[in-house]
């Protein structure tokens, strides 16, 4: 990155730092690296295969990342508070089975079933947050336990059966509308809207500033009058609600309620967050970075498939990129001090 002249020994308040030039600010933006990686990947695939650079293909990539992307927004919020959520995929799977089963069996009207799914997922988030905050327990352990609880409940409640014949409202977000020559999936727009909404909330509201403050130093945040306990529980709850929306997107994308779904989505969402330049130590990063991160994974998966490269290489590349991203994060943290 840049060679800043501040000695690493003492951390100075922001005001005393030399006013950064535009170039330097760009270079130290955590999203700059990921964005460069994404654009490079796009350029590479555009040259390598003539099917990559088309509207239809871009629409496809966004549609393919909408579920993990929505999970990753919640994951970003939690990681910004220096927590982590291993239960997101399992909670989403449970939410999707609740929605699908209730609606398909006619127990509840479709829209009420969807609302219940959101409430259930939000409830899991609330419970995670309460356990992390009130007892208190490490987020890793709480969400690891909750992963197993939600996974088991999914399989118990679904009786291992895939739920089919879903009513229309459940799959509405999987429908497409034409835009020019391309079909756009409604669900993609929902995901993009959620990213923009949370990006705005994090950077332009008091709540957002508090989340960053909490991630940087819970103690300092508390002494500054931030109600850290309420804030933490709130963040986990909002994340849970986002998993509920992801559950609906998942159903609309696949057209069924699948008890096997989401088994690797917890790690996939963490991957997206890390690739997007958000620090696992909390307090540093952004949801827009996460959007770039999730697109990087999607672009590689799609591009390599178009080139006819086996999917195992996509896994290999993702692994290398994750390690690179964390390395860059560490180096730039040192520089930022």
């Amino acid at each position: 990155m840049t060679a800043t002249s501040t000695p690493p020994s003492t951390s100075k308040p922001y005001a005393e730092l030399k006013a950064p030039t535009t170039v330097r600010r760009l270079l130290t933006q955590p999203t700059t690296g990921p964005l460069a990686a994404l654009l490079l990947a796009c350029a590479f695939f555009s040259v390598s295969t003539d099917q990559f650079l088309t509207g239809g293909n871009f629409s496809l990539i966004v549609q393919q990342v909408m579920v993990v992307g929505t999970l990753a927004i919640g994951q970003t919020l939690i990681i910004l508070t220096a927590g982590i959520d291993l239960s997101c995929g399992a909670v989403m799977a449970f939410g999707s089975i609740v929605i699908a089963k209730m609606a398909a069996e006619g127990t509840l009207p479709p829209l009420v079933a969807i609302a219940l799914g959101l409430v259930v997922c939000g409830g899991f988030g609330l419970l995670n947050g309460a356990l992390v905050q009130k007892i208190p327990l490490p987020p890793f352990i709480v969400t690891l336990g909750m992963l197993n609880v939600a996974f088991a409940l999914t399989h118990i409640y679904s009786e291992e059966q895939t739920v089919t014949n879903l009513p229309g409202p459940l799959t509405a977000l999987g429908q497409t509308f034409p835009l020019g020559h391309t079909d756009i999936t409604y669900g993609s727009l929902v995901t993009i809207a959620l990213f923009l909404l949370l990006a705005y909330a994090l950077s332009n509201t008091g709540w957002g500033r508090h989340v960053y403050a909490l991630g940087n130093s819970p103690e300092a945040a508390r002494l500054n009058g931030i109600r850290t306990s309420r804030l933490t529980i709130g963040v986990y709850t909002v994340a849970g609600l986002l998993y509920g929306i992801a559950a609906l997107l998942l159903i609309s994308r696949t057209g069924v309620g699948d008890p096997q779904a989401g088994q690797t989505d917890n790690l996939d969402s963490i991957t997206a967050v890390v690739l997007g330049g958000t620090s696992l130590f909390g307090g540093r990063g952004s949801v827009l970075g996460t959007f770039i991160g999730v697109l990087i994974v999607g672009v590689f998966r799609n591009g390599l498939q178009l080139m006819g490269v086996a999917s195992i290489y996509q896994t290999l590349i993702t692994g290398v990129l994750v390690i690179l991203a964390v390395t860059v994060d560490q180096i730039s943290r040192k520089k930022a001090r």
Partner: protein, 338 residues
């Protein structure tokens, strides 16, 4: 204390602009991604989507497809889910393959029901979709199915076990796959049918996921529950070898009959070594090769393969029983996969 990054409104604006630009590009794009499956390069493309990348059965299937693709001068691209049951991963693979302009897709569905909507979308774009190894639900969701008759595979080892028991009363343990997975259900039911038994005669049934370690654990627990077990039906050879390890630890490996399904090379060798009494061998290479040929035919003259093609199953054992047709392990090792 590191500084809190303030997302300047300029960056938000930039993000919004990027979004709008992307949408504009999308709108003006040539849209071939959502068009029909057409090949740009003139060579025919075939896609193979397996359940996982790591299971030797699917690795072999891939090899069979690659060989057939080479012989027929077509391009093969492959993909797989991340784990057995990863439906979303398979849906994504189908979409990407359709976007890359494949003429046909061969798929071993991880979730027979859940994959159907994605298959229908691919078919609507003129892609021939063929299921290998595992049928979809409904079976008619794909154009054609090339697979082992799993019920028959189970029946063969059931009949064999019945004959080998020579009228002794059987205490059966079943090391199954997973609840609700059709392959496992069919083999299990086939075994019982061939044996002339019902689920009441099964003293212990456990799910193993077809995994050797889980097979061992399941067998250990079954022996705790019913020490007098003398027949073990297993979903596949890894589970069978796990069961063998558990039995050997208790010195029971000689007086318990283990039967299995698959016919992988490791498993067939285990039959030769006397660890497994008999196995129903199936032929993944053949499934893949037939599938590729079907796509080639479709590309040439537009004729779509249809219906179910049984790719065959053979009982492999070195202790042949009267009245049960079988081949020895020499044949088995010549034709094994993995």
């Amino acid at each position: 204390m590191s500084r809190i990054p303030r997302l300047p409104s300029s960056l938000l604006r930039a993000a919004a602009c990027t979004g709008i630009a992307a949408l504009t590009l999308t709108a003006c794009g040539s849209g071939s991604g959502s068009g029909t499956a057409s090949t740009g390069s003139g060579s025919v493309k075939v896609g193979l989507i397996t359940k996982t990348d790591t299971n030797p059965f699917f690795v072999k299937m891939k090899e069979g497809a690659e060989k057939a693709a080479k012989e027929n001068g077509v391009e093969l691209s492959t993909a797989a889910g991340k784990f057995d049951g990863d439906n979303a991963g398979q849906v994504t693979a189908i979409e990407n393959m359709v976007a890359s302009g494949v003429k046909g897709i061969l798929i071993t569905p991880s979730d027979s029901k859940a994959i159907v909507p994605a298959i229908e979308k691919a078919k609507a774009k003129g892609v021939l979709v063929i299921a290998l190894d595992t049928p979809t639900e409904p079976e008619s969701a794909v154009d054609a199915l090339f697979a082992t008759d799993n019920l028959k595979a189970g029946e063969l080892i059931g009949e064999y076990a019945k004959a080998a028991m020579k009228g002794k009363s059987a205490k059966i343990a079943a090391l199954d796959l997973a609840p609700g997975v059709s392959v496992g259900v069919q083999r299990h039911n086939g075994f019982l049918k061939g044996f002339g038994a019902t689920d009441k005669d099964v003293v212990c049934a456990q799910d193993t996921g077809g995994d050797q370690a889980k097979g061992q654990t399941a067998m250990e627990n079954c022996l705790q529950k019913a020490p007098d077990i003398n027949v073990v039906y297993t979903i596949n050879e890894p589970a069978a070898l796990g069961a063998y390890t558990a039995l050997k630890a208790q010195g029971r490996e000689k007086d318990v009959l283990i039967v299995s399904v698959d016919g992988g090379c490791t498993g067939t060798q285990a039959v030769k070594d006397g660890k497994i009494a008999a196995t129903s061998q199936q032929y993944p290479l053949k499934m893949a090769a037939e599938g590729v040929k079907a796509v080639v035919t479709y590309a040439k003259d537009g004729k779509k393969a249809s219906g179910y093609t049984d790719t065959g199953v053979t009982l492999i054992t070195d202790k042949a029983q009267d009245g049960v047709t079988s081949k020895d392990t020499a044949y088995g090792l010549d034709n094994c996969w993995g």
